[in-house]
């Protein structure tokens, strides 16, 4: 396939993507509860005649397939309907806004790509040196700041306080033709802040892309040739390395243009700039569905064209594709995954299932009977396979095998038993739930809810039941095996066994992370936030949702003099300790042994645990108490074994040269301990001893900002983690299957991820969030479902290289089945990469959560940082200069994201074979 063929394929793909976007658009807005005609047309704001017109134009009275056809025709001809709010044609409305948005996006994107590439280039060239560290920190910082928060920050700093620029960026009402100079001046003056914010917000993404691509190129042989040729350093970089790196970078930048759109949306909202983003925001606020539908479509189409343009640029840049010759990205083999379509068993299953569906539609009362008989037939047909499968599993638990494991491989025994318990448990849960759901009177729902809440530790299973007789006894006895506690225990046992099995590898990885400076900072930050979540109950002085705990919009109460002095003293000790330590490093003093350092750290943790325990007990918070015991346990486990050898070394004269370091370490530890003690005193003591004390003031309803801040971390972490788990599961499985089976399955899955890459994830999330009822579950599902494509890509790429290795060939030759090879040989090999990617995905999930919350799509009953900022923005906190309400949540978001992405980056550096040093 030549160049022309490849490009033609891209164009066809783009057209297909447009149709898929249309389909998504259609489906989303038909997921809304109720009849689409009701919300699309029967709007009180629209006159009767117009409603009729919409119904006819969109054929809302016609059957679904016809509606879909009409919808496509309408959208492709630019007929997006009438806005509820503006009562004008949506197409024209969007066109005006689109031009404004382009005016905002284009200069900012170009500037940020230029700066980002410059930073990334120098970071990669000076890898591991100071310039690289600075470049990486700048990149990760700008990557971690949500652009809406940066906008708020800039407005408060430059517009409200300094008064240099106007607060909003509304286009001035000046005629360009009569006074072009003034017009341009006004535009630039109003747009400088939004441009600046967007540029800064995007630098990080582009810098990281360039750095990674260039690191790949720098390890190539032709770079040595370039050096040997006598090229200057600058020429080696600019004329040999960069042209090669630019090839992948153009595609990746195009794929990340979604970030540009997402950033622009937020900037436009804060600056009240009349662009697409503001339109989307207003659309959500007014639930103006025609506008949302149209906006989504237009953004998607623009992104598709941008990607197509990037593809053309890519082919122009890469001679390997430009100049003839066969070039395929993957070897697309026939057969594979879809081979099973041709087997008779599949036909049988398909026919039976179709029959079931027909029965379900015609005579629903017989459906259950038919479904069960389908299942029975299928089981009967495959009885031999099923029996063999069970027999093979059962053999693992034969006494001989178990005694062998007991003597030789105990962790494996733990895993085996946990798996057995878990299998039985899941089986019984399924049976119990099916039986319960088959009962009348919402009996099943009660059981399901009870199981789920017990699983997270909030109630007791089984529920108090209204059932009587033998069935009751049966259910109760079954529920013992189906108990959620058993699920948790067996899962924990499995994980612990797995950890024991791979203890060496796990510890080695942890070592490597701690050996990386960025990794340490990241790990400490993330642990601090986790501690904040665990000890939230005792650290939040007020109920974060309680109104009027003080006067509304009350500024922070100044600290009493003694506390402020104590705080200053502890900070001073810390600073002096740090200075002494840095001085010792500067003088090249030998480092003190690890055991002394661990003893100090352990002692500090134990001290903090002792500090927190009485408060936890006083507040009767089981989570905080458990946390305090855990922290104390970790502290003692670290301190005690190291204490003896530490004492022995301290008395030795060999310590003399590193005396400065010892002093520094002692001061750092003491300072931190004092800081913790004072902070805890301030946080827990002051609200009771000084009524009306608010460390960080209050919001417009008189709620305590500090308490909201502390409790808000929980929701962010939970959503981030659960959504990440969903993402990793979907992305990992898809990447594994696509990479291993190749063929049609691979092409299909990759085209599918392509589409998700092109359609900006955040826009889809925002629109879906506006359609679904606002709740934590919606957020988790939305974020989880739309963040997996990059994971799938990375895993697939790695699987593709691993499956060609000789040992996989060997496993195949010995007769290993596909699933065996995939899960026993390939999965462990890609596991480190998946783990590293998990952390980066978590950062993305957290960022998405905060932005969705900020768009008012979060759970209104939950306290979260995004929601705090949403409310602050909505009630004029920026113009009122209520910094204590705006800055803290934003800074928390930035710190958490910084920590997570630093940890992820350090892990990526360790796990990603492409980044390993040669």
């Amino acid at each position: 396939m030549g160049l022309r063929g490849t490009l033609a394929k891209r164009v066809v793909q783009a057209i297909v993507t447009i149709f898929i976007a249309l389909a998504i658009d259609f489906i989303f807005f038909h997921m809304l509860p109720g009849d689409p005609a009701t919300f699309l047309a029967r709007n009180p704001n629209i006159p009767e005649a117009a409603q009729e017109q919409i119904i006819i134009a969109f054929g809302l009275d016609k059957p679904l397939p016809e509606q879909f056809f009409l919808f496509i025709v309408n959208f492709l001809t630019g007929n997006f309907g009438i806005s509820f709010r503006y009562q004008t044609d949506v197409g024209i409305l969007i066109l005006h806004r689109l031009l404004n948005t382009l005016l905002l996006i284009l200069p900012a994107t170009i500037a940020s790509i230029a700066i980002g590439i410059y930073i990334g280039k120098h970071s990669a060239w000076k890898r591991g040196e100071r310039a690289d560290a600075v470049g990486l920190i700048i990149s990760l910082l700008t990557y971690s700041i949500p652009s809406f928060f940066l906008s708020m920050f800039f407005i408060m700093l430059f517009a409200v306080n300094l008064g240099w620029f106007p607060i909003t960026a509304i286009i001035p009402n000046i005629d360009f033709v009569s006074n072009p100079l003034l017009f341009t001046y006004e535009i630039v003056r109003r747009l400088i802040l939004p441009w600046g914010v967007l540029t800064i917000a995007l630098i990080g993404v582009f810098a990281l892309i360039m750095r990674n691509a260039l690191l790949d190129v720098l390890s190539e042989d032709y770079m040595i040739t370039a050096k040997a040729k006598g090229r200057t350093e600058k020429d080696q970089l600019d004329k040999e390395a960069v042209p090669n790196a630019m090839i992948p970078v153009t595609t990746i930048i195009a794929l990340n243009l979604g970030a540009t759109v997402a950033g622009a949306l937020q900037v436009e909202v804060i600056f009240s700039y009349p662009g697409i983003g503001r339109l989307l925001w207003d659309g959500i606020l007014w639930r103006d569905y025609p506008v949302l539908q149209g906006t989504f479509f237009v953004i998607t189409v623009v992104m598709i064209f941008a990607n197509l343009a990037a593809d053309f640029l890519y082919y122009w840049l890469d001679p390997r594709i430009r100049v003839g010759t066969e070039f395929t990205l993957t070897d697309e083999k026939k057969g594979g995954f879809f081979g099973w379509f041709l087997r008779p068993f599949t036909y049988l299953t398909t026919v039976l299932l179709c029959l079931d569906i027909v029965i379900l539609l015609l005579a629903p009362s017989y459906a259950a009977l038919f479904l069960i008989s389908t299942l029975a037939i299928l089981v009967f047909v495959r009885r031999q396979d099923i029996l063999r499968f069970i027999w093979n599993r059962a053999k693992l638990y034969s006494p001989g095998n178990l005694t062998y494991l007991w003597t030789n491989h105990r962790p494996q025994l733990l895993i085996r038993l946990s798996q057995l318990v878990l299998t039985l448990n899941v089986l019984f849960v399924t049976i119990v739930m099916i039986v319960a759901l088959a009962m009348p009177n919402a009996y099943g729902l009660e059981w399901v809810l009870s199981w789920a809440t017990t699983f997270v530790g909030a109630s007791v299973f089984p529920p108090v039941s209204s059932l009587e007789g033998w069935l009751h006894v049966l259910m109760l006895s079954a529920s013992i095996i189906a108990h959620p506690l058993l699920t948790i225990t067996s899962l924990a046992g499995w994980l612990y066994g797995y950890f024991l099995n791979r203890q060496v590898q796990t510890i080695a990885m942890v070592r490597q992370i701690l050996g990386n400076k960025m990794g340490i900072v990241g790990a400490v930050t993330v642990s601090a936030f986790a501690a904040l979540a665990i000890f939230g109950d005792i650290l939040a002085p007020y109920d974060p949702t309680a109104h009027l705990t003080g006067t509304p919009r009350q500024p922070p109460t100044p600290l009493p003099l003694d506390q402020a002095a104590l705080l200053d003293v502890s900070l001073a000790i810390l600073v002096i300790g740090a200075v002494v330590w840095v001085y010792a490093s500067y003088r090249n003093r030998p480092n003190i042994s690890a055991s002394i350092q661990w003893a100090f750290i352990g002692a500090f943790l134990a001290y903090v645990a002792i500090l927190l325990l009485p408060h936890s007990l006083a507040r009767a918070s089981s989570l905080a108490t458990a946390g305090a015991f855990l922290l104390g346990g970790i502290g003692l486990a670290l301190a005690l074994p190291n204490l003896r050898s530490a004492l022995r070394e301290i008395t030795k004269s060999a310590l003399r040269p590193s005396l400065e370091r010892l002093i520094g370490l002692t001061m750092l530890t003491l300072g931190l301990a004092l800081l913790m003690t004072t902070s805890l005193w301030i946080i827990t003591g002051n609200p009771t001893s000084f009524p009306g004390f608010h460390l960080l003031g209050t919001d417009q309803l008189g709620r305590d900002v500090f308490s909201q801040l502390v409790i808000g971390v929980r929701i962010t972490l939970i959503i981030g983690l659960v959504a990440t788990m969903i993402t990793m599961f979907i992305g990992g499985m898809i990447g594994l299957l696509a990479g291993y089976y190749g063929g049609i399955a691979d092409s299909l899955l990759m085209r599918f991820t392509d589409i998700f890459f092109v359609i900006p994830g955040l826009v889809i999330m925002i629109i879906l969030g506006a359609i679904l009822p606002p709740s934590v579950y919606s957020l988790i599902i939305i974020i989880g479902i739309f963040s997996w494509p990059s994971t799938a890509r990375i895993v697939r790429g790695q699987v593709l290289t691993i499956k060609e290795r000789d040992y996989i060939e060997r496993a195949r030759a010995v007769g290993g089945s596909k699933s065996y090879i995939m899960f026993k040989h390939i999965l462990p090999a890609v596991a480190p990469l998946i783990v590293a990617n998990t952390v980066l995905v978590t950062a993305y999930a957290i960022l998405s959560e905060v932005v969705l919350d900020f768009f008012g799509l979060g759970d209104p009953t939950m306290v979260s940082w995004g929601t705090m900022l949403y409310q602050a923005f909505g009630s004029g906190a920026m113009t009122g200069n209520l910094w204590w309400w705006v800055f803290p949540p934003g800074i928390m978001v930035v710190l958490l994201l910084m920590g997570v992405s630093m940890l992820g980056y350090a892990m990526d550096e360790i796990a990603n074979p492409r980044l390993r040093r040669r």
Partner: protein, 323 residues
């Protein structure tokens, strides 16, 4: 052939190179000394990881960041190039000493046309017009046996053998005094290998070029080189004229190396050297070959044997004359 009275281009004296690693210092080359005369082809051979490539890279200041020349001198036309600053090194590279890399598949930049890479190399070092540079490059491309019409191709359009010949043309473009050829035939099939060796032989007959040929393929050395240097674990163990080394090797390692090389003509028993090359972080004391040597005595384990020369045949072995 080796006329010692000819002009000495390059002299390496007591070179010691180490690599800084997390496990400790790797002593990659120690006490390495040799000379390259004008027009001479020198072969450098030994097992993988014995310091061949390290020595060669140091001649052009191309050692990776972790590598460091601890002591020694590299005299090129009388000047110690180890003292050169960046500017002078950049000027030296390719104009005076150039290099043909192993696996030319990846040694050419995929985004530049073949001839453009030659033109840039030429114009970095010489003040010539684009036109002149192009003509000279085309001439060279013709002389290595490539159709000039293919000169404007990108590297991916050329076969492995063509790329390697282009690489040689590229190395010749500035008329350097010395070319270092690092495993120039390793990744190629036998027919292409023969073409490349033929090319080297033509070069020897027609020019004054000196070549330092690094390979572990002894047949390649026998085919092309005037003198041979055998290295083991970072040290030179034997040097001498090609025919001497092949007919009368004196160091036990060289003997083993030669007898472990299979031959298609003679049905001989293939010998091998038991054990592995030593750990270069903590090399064995005395002669580094002693743990694997059949003839080692106590002295070999304690004292380092010096490289002693008789009639231009130098051997580092205590028991040189005993067998």
């Amino acid at each position: 052939m080796a006329d010692t009275k000819r002009e000495v281009f390059l002299e390496v004296k007591n070179l010691r190179i180490t690599y800084e690693t997390k496990q400790g210092k790797v002593k990659a080359a120690e006490n390495v000394s040799f000379r390259i005369h004008r027009g001479e082809f020198i072969g450098l051979s030994g097992e993988s990881g014995c310091g061949k490539t390290t020595t060669a890279l140091s001649l052009m200041h191309l050692l990776p960041k972790e590598g460091k020349v601890e002591e020694g001198v590299i005299l090129f036309k009388g000047e110690n190039i180890l003292d050169y600053d960046t500017k002078k090194v950049e000027a030296l590279r390719w104009r005076d000493i150039s290099m043909v890399f192993q696996g030319a598949m990846n040694a050419l930049n995929p985004v530049h046309k073949a001839i453009d890479q030659m033109i840039t190399a030429l114009r970095i070092h010489e003040d010539v017009t684009e036109q002149e540079a192009k003509e000279r490059s085309l001439e060279l491309i013709k002389s290595v046996g490539i159709d000039p019409a293919r000169a404007t191709s990108y590297p991916h359009e050329l076969s492995g053998g063509m790329k390697q010949r282009l690489m040689i043309a590229l190395a010749l473009v500035c008329h350097p005094s010395i070319i270092i050829a690092d495993e120039p035939t390793t990744a190629l099939d036998v027919m292409v290998q023969a073409q490349i060796l033929d090319l080297f032989n033509q070069l020897r007959d027609r020019t004054n070029l000196s070549v330092l040929l690094i390979t572990h393929d002894l047949s390649v050395l026998a085919e092309t080189c005037d003198r041979i240097i055998i290295m083991y674990a970072g040290r030179i163990v034997e040097t001498g004229r090609t025919d001497t080394i092949f007919t009368m090797p004196e160091h036990p390692y060289t003997k083993k190396l030669i007898s472990s090389f299979p031959s298609i003509l003679v049905d001989k028993e293939i010998d091998f050297i038991p054990g592995n090359p030593p750990d270069l972080i903590n090399p064995p004391s005395g002669c580094r070959f002693n743990p694997r040597c059949d003839f080692a005595v106590d002295r070999c384990r304690q004292e380092v044997p010096p490289l002693e020369c008789e009639n231009g045949h130098c051997v580092a072995c205590w028991r040189r004359h005993e067998f």
